[in-house]
């Protein structure tokens, strides 16, 4: 099943995507066209949001990192999220702002000290994130620092959550970003340094992962700086396409 979280008639509802994602079935059975829906980030309120830096071999090389180290994990607040077809503000001095298409694993079962071999059975589903970075704001303290990675509405998420039960191997998916139709990132989740299962094992070794918690698993190579007005599409095989537009920050 593919699900989407939308705003409808003054409240938030989870819907089921039908007819190839072109229509959404509401909890009361009513059906609406996906084109008319107001998509919200498919997140459980309160969820912990983990993100990974430097988790694709190609992107590590591109940025000049070599040795394998412990996973570079950071956390994000819900203020960063914005739904499918939403907008992301681009600051006037953010000339090095670039999109990062990422596979997101959503936890379904409390996980503590789960070995990698069993870790995928703790995943409820998968979605797509575009974890924008603005390199001008990088500082070498708790890097990537929150001024880079925790800005409002800089992490488009969605549109759909695909149930893990309907999903094959998460480590063999094509992943791509297009800016104004031009491909700027193209890779495969097979290139992750730490797989989804490895990451669940790593995190759950020292803390409890709870249902709804999300892991943004990092991005492949392709640093492309964007301008206000750019249309950005992030696509992952088997999940769908997440659309976003950059607007000039006031």
């Amino acid at each position: 099943m593919k699900r989407a979280r939308i705003a409808h008639d003054g409240r938030i509802v989870w819907t089921e995507a039908i007819e190839n994602g072109t229509a959404l079935r509401l909890p009361d059975g009513e059906t609406i066209a996906a084109a008319d829906a107001i998509f919200l980030p498919p997140v459980t309120p309160g969820a912990t949001i983990f993100a990974l830096g430097l988790n694709y071999a190609s992107h590590r090389a591109e940025l000049g990192f070599k040795a394998k180290e412990p996973p570079l994990v950071f956390l994000k607040g819900p203020n960063t999220l914005v739904g499918h077809r939403g907008t992301t503000p681009r600051p006037a001095d953010g000339n090095q702002m670039h999109p990062e298409c990422e596979l997101v694993a959503i936890i379904g079962t409390p996980a503590r000290r789960v070995p990698a071999e069993r870790a995928l059975s703790y995943v409820a589903g998968y979605t797509i994130a575009c974890d924008y970075a603005i390199r001008e704001y990088l500082e070498n303290y708790y890097r990537p620092n929150l001024r880079v990675k925790n800005r409002d509405a800089t992490t488009p998420l969605g549109p759909f959550v695909v149930d893990a039960a309907d999903f094959g191997d998460p480590q063999n998916l094509q992943i791509a970003t297009r800016v104004n139709g031009q491909v700027v990132q193209k890779g495969t989740t097979a290139d992750m340094v730490q797989s989804v299962a490895d990451l669940i094992a790593y995190l759950s070794e020292f803390m409890t992962l709870m249902p709804g918690d999300m892991i943004l698993t990092g991005t492949p190579e392709g640093v492309h700086f964007c301008a206000a007005g750019d249309s950005v599409e992030c696509e992952i095989e088997g999940i769908g396409m997440l659309e976003n537009r950059l607007v000039a920050a006031p």
């Binding site: 570079l72 956390l75 994000k76 607040g77 500082e139 303290y141 620092n145 929150l146 409002d152 803390m207």
Partner: protein, 212 residues
């Protein structure tokens, strides 16, 4: 008890910044910090006064940094210092527990985000003149640490203004306003009590995981 996100700030202790002034210009930092250096304490870390803090076998001792938490009553976005504190609805004491780590280069998720590593005291209504001069930490009944909030490099209003310049501190979020660099270390079997004038006291006892 906390519906929003808990944000904390490191390197906001004036004494610590003085000690590290030389290191700030060396690798890996290369330049002193400009923006406030923030971290997030996720929901699994939240605990309440009176509950045990559980230490797993790999932790011989932990740092127990007492601080003040400010709970937002309304969203603070791009606010100035004059209006910053008007967004705060309540205050509490917090004990930010972490595995000791001297390095600030990478986010300290493993060190700071273990289950139960943020016990909170009860909330008191906040008003700008709330007296919060010194936070005192007792361990096993004896005073172990005391720090005046005059040590903060950025006071609460300045912090809120500078953070809200690039992200919204939302209603329901909690901001921990800084950690003392000389926070005491505790180990399993010890009891910690944090007090600060009229704020509700916070008590935690530390236990070894295999003792549960």
């Amino acid at each position: 008890m906390i519906a929003g996100t808990v944000y904390g700030v490191v390197l906001n202790d004036h004494d610590e910044r003085g000690k590290l002034a030389g290191a700030f210009s060396e690798p890996p930092y290369k330049a002193p910090p400009k923006a406030p250096v923030l971290y997030i304490k996720p929901r699994n870390t939240l605990g309440v006064s009176g509950a045990p803090v559980v230490l797993s076998a790999d932790l011989a001792e932990v740092e127990a940094a007492a601080t003040l938490g400010l709970l937002f009553g309304r969203d603070a976005a791009k606010c100035d210092t004059a209006s910053a504190l008007a967004h705060v609805a309540a205050a509490c004491l917090a004990l930010d527990v972490s595995e000791p780590q001297a390095n600030y280069y990478r986010p300290a998720v493993r060190q700071r985000c273990r289950d139960g590593f943020l016990p909170l005291g009860g909330f008191t209504p906040f008003y700008p003149a709330l007296p919060v001069g010194e936070i005192v930490t007792d361990i096993d009944g004896a005073e172990a640490h005391r720090w005046p909030l005059s040590r903060l490099a950025r006071d609460a209003a300045t912090l809120i203004a500078e953070i809200s310049d690039f992200m919204t501190l939302a209603a329901g979020d909690l901001l921990l306003i800084g950690l003392p660099h000389d926070a005491p270390r505790v180990t399993a079997g010890q009891r910690v009590r944090v007090t600060c004038q009229s704020l509700a006291a916070l008590e935690s006892h530390f236990v070894r995981e295999d003792a549960l």
